[in-house]
Amino acid sequence: MGSGNAVVKKWLWLAYPAMVMLLIGFSWQWLVAGPDQIWQKIAVKQQKVAAQQLQAASLRQKAAVLGEQDVNKLQGQVGFLESVVPVENRVSALLALSRQAAGGSVSINGYKWATGGGLTLSLGVADLTVLRDLLTRLQQTIPLLAVKSVKLAGESAEVGLEVAWKPARTVEAVADKPLPILTGVVEQLQQKLAVYITPVVGVATTSGETVKPDPFSE
């Protein structure tokens, strides 16, 4: 019995490395190979946190940009853009714009409304250069016009016109959708369209009445 205890005592120092091995063996199951796989969980969480940080940065930037915007200015810009390409077919503007574009160099002999909502002008033009200049001016109007056809024969010409229009699309705020970049975009358009002519469809009088001039009167 006494010699047995002595043997056990002599081998006892091996208990320490054995325990370390057992500890590592079991924890290996927990850390790497087992169902919990803590390291895998850490990796997944790290990716999730990184993605959330990116989202937060994007939202932070969006909130900052929105905070700097002036709603009244934006609404004014929408108004300007809708005057350039209206939300409804303003065929009535075609005649006034045509007359202004024609000026004194081209005489408008007649016009007819096209079935699709456009206008066909009958013009008296001296030569091709005059017609070319008229076409250039017709494409520099607000609302924007599109020349659909041109037919010149001798000193008379027919020009088919349509006014640009597109119905307003419903837009909604989406919190996690990035904002479009608009820095200077509208200003550039305003600068580009500054020389374009606008129709004189009505002249406000001092009495508050609106006088609509005859488009063919001199």
Binding site: L14, P17, Q69, V78, V147, E172
Partner: protein, 165 residues
């Protein structure tokens, strides 16, 4: 006489030589294990706190953005109409440019008596008159890609050509 019993004393003595080395290695392994385990647990705790903090920030920012809903709608409306205007400006055909290119090619001896263009077909036809057929041919050669689609002679003796530009 042969002794078949194991020499326990000698075996123990032999193993005792490794006691020190095994102890040191075990301590290093245990220390490393504790460091890795503590590091993993600490990292997990850090990530969990960060996750909560970012979640709170996202919720707060989303609320801020939601409060500015009218502004965002206006920004998107501006963007939508800018797209409409740009699309129209870039998409429309420009007959004045076509005509300007054509007029730049005019030569003496040719009279342009007609010109027609349709945006949907994108075809330009010009009617030209000249006394000499060679002048018409010279004119055609000057306008790249043009072709004569009809050639007649008028009562006045002029050559009348319809050219597709």
């Amino acid at each position: 006489m042969i002794n078949l019993l194991p020499d326990t004393k000698n075996i123990i003595t032999n193993w005792m030589r490794y006691k020190g080395v095994v102890g040191v290695i075990s301590s290093f392994v245990l220390g490393g294990y504790i460091l890795v385990a503590a590091g993993s647990a600490g990292w997990w705790l850090f990530l969990t706190r960060q996750d909560e903090s970012v979640k709170k920030e996202i919720a707060s920012l989303t609320q801020q953005i939601s409060d500015l809903k009218a502004t965002e709608t206006a920004v998107r409306a501006v963007d939508e109409r800018v797209g409409v205007v740009n699309s129209f400006l870039t998409g429309r055909a420009d007959p004045a440019k076509i005509m300007a290119g054509f007029l730049a090619q005019v030569i003496d001896g040719v009279k342009i008596s007609g010109w027609s263009w349709k945006s949907d077909k994108n075809v330009t036809v010009a009617t030209i008159e000249a006394a000499d057929l060679q002048v018409i041919e010279t004119f055609r050669q000057k306008i790249k890609g043009s072709k004569i689609i009809n050639l007649t002679r008028s009562k006045e003796g002029l050559w009348v050509a319809e050219m597709q530009l």
